[in-house]
C-alpha cells in the first residue's frame, strides 16, 4: 500500500518533468536573428525600421549640423548650440557623435542583403524596397561625408563578432561614390509614387533624384546635377505652392505638394523642433541679427518665420506656426523637410550659372525669379540686376537659398559647398582654418575604436 503511494508520488512528480525543449525558448515578442527577413512583410517592416532610425538621426541634429555653425542663427542658451556658434567644437559634443547614422546604415545593410532572398530575382516589389534601403543608406553616408569627411564605409550588415568591427576611415570620395551608386539604383528602382502621403516621407524615384542633385552639387558635378534636377523639375509629383499661406503650411502641416522628402514625425514620434526653435524664452536657436538684416523689404515670407514685431524674437515660427505662444501645448510633431522643389530649383539655378553661357544664365535667373516673385519680391530683369544687388548671380542664388530655405538645415552645407564658410563665419566666430570645417569625431567613438584617428584640426 505504502509502496503504491510512493509510486504514485513519483509518477506525479515525473509527469511534471518535461523533455528538454523546456530549454528552447524562442523570443515571444521579437524575432531572433535567424527568424527575421523570411517573408515579404518582414522585408517591408525592415525598411520601415530604417526610416525609424532616420527619425532619430534628424530629430535634433538636422539643425545642429545644418544651422548651428552658420550665420542665420544665434543662441541665448549655453551648451551644444553655443559651442557650435562660437566655433568651440570639441569631441564631447552630442552632434559630433555619428551613432544614429550608423544605426541607420546597419539597418539598411540588413535590408539590402536579405530582401533579395525573399523575392524572385528582378521582382519589382523587392527592388523597390532595396531601392528605398539604398537611398536611405546614401542619405546617411551623404551626411557623414559632409560632416566628418573620411568615415568608415560599411556596406555589409554585422551578423557576428567575427567580422571586422574596428574599422578605419575611408576616403570621403569613395564614400560619395557609393552614395551616387546607391542613389542611381534607387532612382531606377524605387516607386514612381505611392499615391498618398507616403510620397513625401518615403523614397521615390523623384526624391532619389533630388538627393542625387544635392550630392552632385556637393561634388561640383554640374552636368550630372542638371540632368537629375531636370528629372525632379519635370516630375508631376512636385509643384511650387503659390500662396504664402500655403508656403507656411509646407512646414506647419507637412505633406505639401512642393515637398520632395521629409522625415515624418507625429504627436507620438516627436522631434526637437520645439526645443530647437520655439520653446519661448528658452529656444536654442533664434534668428541672428545678420539674418534679420539680410532680407529685402517686402519679403512676405518673413512673417511666417518669426515675430517681426519684436526687435529680438524669442522663437522661430517656421515649423511650429505663426503666432505660437510660449505656453502653447502644440507638440513637436511637424515633419522635418529635407528637400523640396524650391531647394532643387535653386540648386539647378546654381548649376546652370556654374556652367555659364547666356542661355544657362537666363534659365538660372528664371528659376531664381520664380522663387522671388512668389515671395512678393520683384523679379531681376537681368543677371546684371542680380549682380548689382548681391555681387554676382551665384551670390544672389545663395542669398535666396538662405532666405527661402532658412532654418531648414541647409545653410552650413551651402556655405561649405560654395567655399564661403570661412569668409562668412570669420567675422562672426573667427573660423579660419579649412581643417576646422569638419566636425571632430566624438570621444565616444574614439574610445571604442582605437583604429579611428581624430580629424587633424581637433588633435
Amino acid at each position: 500500500m505504502k509502496i503504491t503511494k510512493f509510486i504514485f508520488i513519483m509518477i506525479f512528480s515525473l509527469s511534471v518533468i518535461s523533455c528538454s525543449d523546456l530549454l528552447d525558448k524562442e523570443p515571444v515578442s521579437s524575432f531572433s536573428a535567424d527568424g527575421f527577413y523570411k517573408t515579404t512583410s518582414d522585408a517591408q517592416a525592415g525598411v520601415y525600421g530604417i526610416y525609424d532610425a532616420a527619425q532619430s538621426v534628424f530629430r535634433t541634429n538636422f539643425a545642429y549640423w545644418g544651422e548651428g555653425r552658420a550665420d542665420n542663427v544665434k543662441t541665448a542658451q549655453s551648451g551644444e548650440g553655443l559651442m557650435l556658434l562660437q566655433n568651440n567644437l570639441d569631441e564631447s559634443l552630442a552632434s559630433a557623435y555619428w551613432g544614429s547614422l550608423y544605426d541607420m546604415i546597419n539597418r539598411a545593410n540588413y535590408a539590402i542583403k536579405y530582401i533579395p532572398n525573399i523575392y524572385k530575382e528582378g521582382d519589382a516589389a523587392g527592388n523597390q524596397l532595396v531601392g528605398e534601403a539604398r537611398a536611405l543608406r546614401a542619405l546617411a553616408y551623404f551626411y557623414l561625408a559632409r560632416i566628418w569627411g573620411d568615415v568608415p564605409l560599411i556596406t555589409e550588415p554585422y551578423l557576428s563578432i567575427e567580422q571586422d568591427i574596428l574599422v578605419t576611415r575611408t576616403s570621403k570620395e569613395t564614400v560619395l561614390d557609393l552614395v551616387e551608386e546607391d542613389l542611381k539604383f534607387a532612382a531606377q528602382n524605387c516607386r514612381d509614387k505611392f499615391g498618398n502621403d507616403r510620397d513625401r516621407i518615403m523614397f521615390t524615384k523623384g526624391s532619389a533624384n533630388a538627393l542625387l542633385t544635392h550630392v552632385y552639387m556637393w561634388r561640383h558635378k554640374y552636368d550630372e546635377a542638371l540632368t537629375t534636377s531636370n528629372l525632379v523639375l519635370n516630375n508631376s509629383l512636385y509643384s511650387l505652392v503659390t500662396t504664402m499661406d500655403d508656403w507656411g503650411k509646407i512646414f506647419t502641416n507637412s505633406y505639401s505638394k512642393e515637398s520632395i522628402f521629409e522625415v515624418g514625425y507625429n504627436e507620438k514620434e516627436t522631434n526637437s523642433l520645439r526645443v530647437l526653435y520655439a520653446i519661448g524664452s528658452y529656444a536654442i536657436f533664434t534668428p541672428s541679427e545678420k539674418f534679420k538684416a539680410s532680407y529685402e523689404a517686402g519679403d512676405k515670407r518673413i512673417e511666417y518665420v518669426y515675430d517681426v514685431t519684436l526687435a529680438d524674437p524669442k522663437a522661430i515660427w517656421k515649423y511650429l506656426g505663426k503666432g505660437l505662444s510660449d505656453e502653447d501645448p502644440t507638440p513637436s510633431k511637424q515633419n522635418i523637410v529635407l528637400m523640396r522643389l524650391a531647394d532643387i530649383m535653386l540648386l539647378r539655378a546654381e548649376a546652370l550659372n556654374k556652367k555659364g553661357g547666356a542661355q544657362n544664365q537666363t534659365e538660372a535667373l528664371g528659376l531664381l525669379n520664380r522663387i522671388r516673385t512668389r515671395a512678393g519680391l520683384p523679379a531681376f530683369a537681368t543677371v546684371g540686376d542680380a549682380s548689382t544687388m548681391y555681387g554676382d548671380l551665384e551670390s544672389a542664388i545663395l542669398h535666396e537659398r538662405s532666405i527661402e530655405l532658412c532654418f531648414e538645415g541647409h545653410r552650413w552645407f551651402d556655405l561649405v559647398r560654395t567655399g564661403k564658410a570661412i569668409s562668412t563665419m570669420q567675422p562672426i566666430n573667427g573660423l579660419s582654418d579649412e581643417r576646422n570645417l569638419v566636425w571632430p569625431i566624438s570621444i565616444t567613438s574614439l574610445r571604442k575604436n582605437p583604429n579611428l584617428v581624430q580629424n587633424e584640426y581637433y588633435k
Binding site: I9, L22, P27, D90, N106, S160, E269
Partner: protein, 1043 residues
C-alpha cells in the same frame, strides 16, 4: 563530558566574574532592604547544584526571581540564600546548561538541583541547500543570522537585516526612500554584468529578486522585491559563501546564496505575538547652500567674468532674476531643503500565531506597515500575510503548505539623477530667490525653465502597486527507514502596476499633461524532487546522500501605454488621454532552467568530514550547443579538537579546520541575447517596422567561478568565545559581459564571454560572551576584507589599455572593478601668467586656460588637456567592511548597540559636482564663497563664468569630486524592557516588552554630501553619489505582546 570537565576547571574564573556581578546586585538589595526598614520574614534556603552525572557545578547563579537577591555556588556547588517571600521562585542558571526554577514555600536545608546540559550552539541546525546540518558538521563557509538579532530591530526589509551582521557580506542601501532596494555583495564583485546579486531562496523556493519595475524614472535601480517579506516572519537567514556550500545551486550561485527560513509551527500551546511600533524619521544632515544675497552675487560674477574673458566693451546684462530683488516672483530667500524635507512618521502592527499538535502545526502572521518618507509626498504601505503549515499525513508521509501574500503601495518621487525631474539635486541647486507663490497666493510650479520641486513631489504621481503571492507545497515520503523522497512545487507570482502622471501645473505649456501606465506580471514556477539517504554504519561512519532533479521557468509580461493631453489633471487614468502611444512596451519574455544535482557527505565520528556536490544546469539563455553547465564542488573538514593530542588543551571546546573548492556559474544575461534579436516597434509613423537590436552570439556560454576556501572554527572557554575565520580565493572566468563595440556596427554592445576576475579575502567573525549571569554582555564582531582584481581582458576590446565602463569608471587589467578614471584637479590658476606652459583645452587649437580656471594635470605633458590626461583618481572598493554588535542584558532590561563600518572606499560625488558647478542660475554650496574673484586670488574654487568657454566642469570627471567614503555608523541602539512575568500574568499576558530603537544615530565620516552609503546602481558602477534619496535618522518606540 569532556566539555564539562573543561568547564569546571575554568569555573573559578567564571565564578569570580559572576560573583562580582551578583554580589554588586545583592549589595544594593541589602541596602534597599535596610532602607525600607520593613521587618520581613526571610526564609533560609541552602542546597547543591549539580549536573546530570551528579558532579557539582561551581559558579552557578542562584537568584530569587523578580528581585536583586542572589548568590553563586561555591567550589562544591553549594549555596545558601535567604529568600524574602514565601512562594518565591529561585532561578538557577549556568552557562551551557538549561535554566532551572524551584518554588520556595518554606525553609529548605538540602535542596538538590540538577541542571540539564543545554544543547550547544554547535548542535543547532543550520539550513543548507536542500537540507539542514548541525553547525558542528559544516565544512563550508556559511554565516547565520538568527531571529534573535532580527527580533528587536524594527527593520523593514530583509536585506537591511543583513547589513553589518555577516562577514564578507556587503550591503549598501540604494537610497533612503521607503521600500527601496539594497545591493548585497557576497565576497566582492565576481562578475562584469549586472547580475551581481546573490540568489535568494525562501523556504526552498528560489525567488525573483530583480526589480520588475518598468517605470522608475531617474532611479535606475528600481524597487526591491524582497521588501515584500515581513522580517518578523523570519526564523533565520543563512548566507552560503564558499564554493562547496553554494555549488548545489549551480548556475545562479556565483554571487553567494541567501537562504531565508520563515517561522513554522510547533507542538504545544499556541503562542500569540503582537508587535506594534511607531517611529519618526528626519534627515541626518543638511547641506549648505547660498542665501539670496550670496546667490545674486555669484550669478552677477558669472557675467562679469565672462565679460572680462571676452574683453567685452559693454557689460552684459545679467538675467533679471539675478538683479531684480523686488519682483514678487523673485524676492524670496529660501533653503529649499527646509521645504522639501520633513519629519516623517511610520507605524507597523503585526500579529502572529504559532502552534500545533502531533499531526498539524501552523504558523500564521500578518502585518501592516505605513511609512512616510522624509521627502514630501513619499509614502510606502505594505500589508503582508503568511500561513505555514506542516501535516503528518501518515507515519511515513509528511506534507506542508506555505503561502504568503504581500500588497505594497509605494508613492514614490524621482529623487536621484541629474535631470530636471530629479528632486534631490533640484532642491540643492534651485535659486533661493524663487517665490513659492504668485502674489494671489497660488503656487508657482514652473518658473524660469525650472519645475518647482514642491510641485514635482506633490502634484506628480509615481505610484507603484505590487501584489505578490508565493506558494509552496511539499510532500516528504519515508520510503525506508533511512531513505526519504521529497517533492516540492512552488509558485512566485508578482504583479506590479505603475502609474505615472505629470499634471499641467508643472509644465511650461498651458494644458499639457502626460501620463503612463505599466502592468507587469512575473510568474516563476519551480519543481524540485530529491531523494535523501542518511545512515550511520558501525556507529562511526555517517553517510548522507542526496540526489535530485529540478526545473524552473520564468515568464515576464509587460503591458502599458503612454498618454498625453489628458482632458483633466484630475482624471489620471489613461482613458482620459487625448493621445495614446507607447505600444512597444507590451512584451513577453521567457526563461527556463533545468537541473540535476547530487551530494555525498561522509564523516567518521564527526571528526573527519567530507562532502562532494555536483550540479548540472541547462539554461535557455545560452547558445544551442552551450546550454549545459556542470558545477562540481568538494569540501573536507577535520575536527582536530577530537584528537587525543588536544585533550589537555582545556580552553578548547571545539575546533575544526575546513577546506573547500567549488565551481558555480552565472547566467544573468538577457533572455535571448545568444540568438540575436530583431525588435518590433521600430515604427515609422503608423507603419510597423522592425530593427536588429542585438547581434547573435551562438557561442555564448556559462560564466564560471571557481572558489577555494580555507577556514577554521574555534569554540573556546566552554563556548564563551566563538571564532570563525575564513580565507578565500575566487576566480571567475568566461565573464559574461556586454562588451561595448564601435557604434559603426549599428550595435552598442555584444554579450560575450571574456576575461577573468579575481576576488580574494579574509573574514573573521568573533562572538564572545563577556559577562554572563544576571548581567549579560555578548559581543559579535565581524570584519571582511576583500581584494578585487581584474586579471585579464581581451586586448582587442581595450582602448588605451582600458575599457570605459559608464561615465566614471574603467576596467583595466590589474585594477579592481570600481576604479574611477578622470582628470586630476591641482588647484586654480591665480593669474593668467601662472599657466606658464600655455596649456590648452581639448586640442592644439583649443583655448588657453587663464587665471581663475582649474589647473588640470597635464599628465603627458603635451600642453593639451584631453582624454590622454585622464588617470586613475580613486577606487570605490572598501578595504574592509564589518559590524560590531553588543548585547547587554540585566534583569528585565536588554540593550543592543550595533555599529557598522566601511573603510577605504572612495566616493565619486556627482552630487557635490552639481552643487558646486556654477551653471546657468543654479545655486551652489557655501564653498563658493571662497571662489576666485580676481587675479592673484589663491583658492581651490575656480572662477564662476557663464557658459564657461573652457567647459571645466561639463562632462569632466575629476578627482575634485572624489572623496573618502569610509565611515563608522552607529546603526542601531535598541533598549528593551520586559515586564516581569508576574506582572504580565496579572494583566493576562504571557509577556510584555517595550522597546525604543534609534537607527542611523551617528555617522563618523569625512564625506561631505548627505551620506557615505551611496547608491550602487549596478555591481559594476559602484560608489557614485548621484543624489539619491537621502538616508534618515529614525527613532522607534514599540511593544511586543505575548498572549
Amino acid at each position: 563530558m569532556k566539555v564539562l570537565k573543561t568547564l569546571k576547571k575554568y569555573s573559578l574564573f567564571l565564578m569570580l566574574l559572576t560573583f562580582y556581578s551578583v554580589n554588586a546586585a545583592s549589595n544594593t538589595a541589602y541596602e534597599m532592604y535596610l532602607s525600607t526598614g520593613i521587618n520581613q520574614q526571610e526564609i533560609p534556603v541552602s542546597g547543591t547544584v549539580s549536573d546530570e552525572t551528579g558532579q557539582p557545578i561551581p559558579g552557578a547563579a542562584v537568584v530569587e526571581v523578580g528581585t536583586n537577591n542572589g548568590v553563586v555556588t561555591d567550589v562544591d556547588g553549594k549555596f545558601t540564600i535567604n529568600v524574602r517571600n514565601r512562594g518565591a521562585r529561585l532561578e538557577i542558571s549556568f552557562l551551557g546548561y538549561k535554566k532551572s526554577e524551584v518554588t520556595i514555600n518554606g525553609p529548605q536545608r538540602n535542596l538538590q538541583i540538577t541542571l540539564a546540559e543545554e544543547v550547544s550552539k554547535l548542535d543547532e541546525l543550520v539550513v543548507i541547500g536542500y537540507g539542514s546540518m548541525k553547525k558542528r558538521d559544516i565544512s563550508g563557509s556559511i554565516a547565520t543570522i538568527d531571529n534573535e538579532s532580527l527580533e528587536n530591530t524594527p527593520v523593514k526589509n530583509v536585506m537591511s537585516a543583513l547589513q553589518g551582521r555577516a562577514s564578507g557580506v556587503q550591503v549598501v542601501s540604494n537610497s533612503g526612500a521607503p521600500g527601496d532596494g539594497m545591493s548585497v555583495t557576497v565576497r566582492g564583485q565576481s562578475t562584469l554584468n549586472s547580475g551581481n546579486e546573490p540568489l535568494y531562496v525562501i523556504d526552498g523556493v528560489p525567488v525573483q529578486s530583480n526589480s520588475i519595475s518598468q517605470l522608475n524614472g531617474w532611479e535606475s535601480h528600481g524597487l526591491n522585491p524582497l521588501a515584500d517579506i515581513n522580517p518578523q516572519d523570519i526564523e533565520s537567514i543563512e548566507i552560503l559563501k564558499d564554493g562547496s556550500s553554494t555549488a548545489i545551486y549551480g548556475s545562479r550561485a556565483a554571487n553567494g546564496v541567501i537562504l531565508i527560513t520563515t517561522k513554522r509551527g510547533r507542538e504545544g500551546k499556541p503562542q500569540i505575538n503582537v508587535n506594534l511600533y511607531t517611529g519618526v524619521s528626519k534627515l541626518t544632515r543638511k547641506l549648505s547652500v547660498l542665501n539670496a544675497a550670496q546667490w545674486r552675487d555669484i550669478i552677477i560674477d558669472t557675467y562679469k567674468n565672462l565679460d572680462a574673458y571676452n574683453n567685452a566693451t559693454t557689460p552684459s546684462e545679467p538675467h533679471w532674476t539675478a538683479i531684480d530683488s523686488l519682483n514678487p516672483m523673485n524676492n524670496g530667500d529660501v533653503d529649499w531643503q527646509d521645504i522639501m524635507y520633513r519629519t516623517a512618521y511610520q507605524k507597523q502592527a503585526s500579529i502572529s500565531i504559532i502552534g500545533g499538535n502531533q499531526t498539524a502545526k501552523y504558523s500564521l502572521s500578518s502585518s501592516i506597515l505605513d511609512q512616510d518618507g522624509i521627502i514630501l509626498a513619499s509614502n510606502y504601505k505594505r500589508i503582508t500575510s503568511r500561513l505555514n503549515t506542516d501535516f503528518r499525513i501518515t507515519d511515513r508521509i509528511n506534507a506542508g503548505y506555505s503561502v504568503s501574500y504581500t500588497h505594497g503601495k509605494n508613492n514614490r518621487i524621482n529623487a536621484g539623477g541629474t535631470g530636471n525631474n530629479s528632486l534631490v539635486q533640484s532642491i540643492l541647486v534651485r535659486p533661493p530667490v524663487y517665490s513659492l507663490t504668485y502674489p494671489d497666493g497660488s503656487p508657482i510650479y514652473y518658473f524660469n525653465g525650472k519645475r518647482n520641486p514642491v510641485g514635482l513631489a506633490v502634484e506628480a504621481t509615481h505610484l507603484n502597486t505590487t501584489n505578490r503571492i508565493i506558494g509552496n507545497q511539499y510532500i516528504d515520503f519515508e520510503i525506508l527507514k533511512d531513505l526519504r523522497f521529497k517533492t516540492n512545487i512552488s509558485l512566485d507570482y508578482i504583479t506590479m502596476k505603475e502609474d505615472e502622471f505629470y499634471p499641467t501645473t508643472i509644465d511650461y505649456r498651458a494644458g499639457y499633461n502626460s501620463g503612463a501606465v505599466r502592468a507587469t506580471n512575473n510568474l516563476t514556477w519551480a519543481n524540485e524532487n530529491y531523494l535523501t539517504y542518511n545512515k550511520t554504519f558501525n556507529e562511526v561512519h555517517n553517510v548522507s546522500l542526496l540526489g535530485g532533479f529540478s526545473q524552473q521557468a520564468w515568464k515576464l509580461e509587460t503591458t502599458g501605454l503612454n498618454g498625453q493631453f489628458f482632458a483633466s489633471d484630475n482624471i489620471r487614468t489613461l482613458n482620459g488621454a487625448g493621445t495614446i502611444f507607447g505600444q512597444d512596451v507590451n512584451t513577453t519574455v521567457e526563461h527556463s532552467l533545468m537541473s540535476v544535482f547530487g551530494r555525498v557527505s561522509y564523516d567518521f565520528m564527526g571528526k573527519y568530514l567530507f562532502q562532494a556536490n555536483m550540479r548540472a544546469d541547462g539554461s535557455s539563455r545560452f547558445g544551442k550547443e552551450k546550454k549545459w553547465g556542470y558545477f562540481p564542488s568538494a569540501s573536507l573538514a577535520w575536527r582536530f579538537s577530537d584528537e587525543k593530542l588536544f585533550d589537555n588543551l582545556n580552553a578548547l571546546e571545539d575546533g575544526k579546520i575546513r577546506l573547500s573548492v567549488g565551481q558555480t556559474g552565472n547566467e544573468s544575461i538577457g533572455n535571448y541575447v545568444s540568438q540575436g534579436e530583431f525588435s518590433l516597434g521600430a515604427n515609422y509613423l503608423d507603419y510597423s517596422g522592425a530593427a536588429p537590436t542585438a547581434m547573435p552570439n551562438y557561442n555564448l556560454s556559462w560564466e564560471t567561478t571557481t572558489q577555494y576556501n580555507a577556514g577554521i572554527d574555534l569554540s573556546l572557554f566552554a563556548g564563551r568565545v566563538y571564532l570563525t575565520a575564513d580565507a578565500y580565493l575566487k576566480r571567475t572566468t568566461n565573464l559574461l559581459f556586454n562588451v561595448p563595440i564601435p557604434e559603426t556596427t549599428g550595435f552598442d554592445f555584444i554579450t560575450q564571454n571574456i576575461g577573468e576576475i579575481q576576488n580574494k579575502g579574509l573574514e573573521f567573525a568573533l562572538t564572545t560572551h563577556n559577562i554572563t549571569g544576571k548581567f549579560n554582555w555578548t559581543t559579535n564582531f565581524n570584519i571582511g576584507m576583500n581584494r578585487n582584481k581584474i586579471v585579464s581582458l581581451p586586448e582587442n576590446i581595450l582602448t588605451n589599455g582600458y575599457l570605459q565602463n559608464g561615465t566614471y569608471h574603467i576596467l583595466k587589467v590589474g585594477e579592481s572593478i570600481g576604479t574611477f578614471y578622470g582628470w586630476k584637479f591641482l588647484g586654480v590658476y591665480s593669474r593668467d601668467e601662472d599657466n606658464v606652459n600655455q596649456v590648452k583645452y581639448g586640442s592644439a587649437n583649443g583655448k588657453v586656460f587663464r587665471g581663475g580656471d582649474p589647473i588640470w594635470d597635464d599628465l603627458n605633458g603635451d600642453k593639451i588637456i584631453d582624454d590622454q590626461d585622464k588617470q586613475i583618481i580613486g577606487n570605490a572598493q572598501p578595504k574592509f567592511t564589518g559590524g560590531l554588535n553588543n548585547d547587554f542584558s540585566y534583569k528585565n532590561f536588554s540593550l543592543n548597540v550595533f555599529f557598522q563600518f566601511s573603510y577605504g572606499n572612495d566616493i565619486y560625488s556627482n552630487l557635490n559636482m552639481m552643487r558646486n558647478w556654477v551653471f546657468a542660475y543654479n545655486n551652489v554650496s557655501t564653498d563658493a564663497l571662497n571662489r576666485w574673484r580676481k587675479p592673484g586670488d589663491i583658492t581651490d574654487f575656480p572662477r564662476p563664468i557663464r557658459n564657461d568657454p573652457l567647459r571645466n566642469e561639463y562632462l569632466r570627471v575629476s578627482d575634485r569630486w572624489v572623496e573618502d567614503g569610509s565611515y563608522v555608523r552607529l546603526k542601531n541602539i535598541t533598549l528593551a524592557y520586559n515586564l516581569p512575568a508576574k506582572m504580565a500574568n496579572k494583566i493576562f499576558l504571557e509577556g510584555l516588552q517595550f522597546y525604543v530603537t534609534g537607527e542611523n544615530l551617528v555617522t563618523w565620516t569625512h564625506y561631505t554630501a548627505y551620506d557615505p552609503e551611496v547608491s550602487s546602481y549596478s555591481g559594476l558602477q559602484i560608489g557614485v553619489d548621484d543624489g539619491s534619496y537621502p538616508q534618515s535618522r529614525t527613532f522607534v518606540f514599540g511593544l511586543n505582546i505575548k498572549f
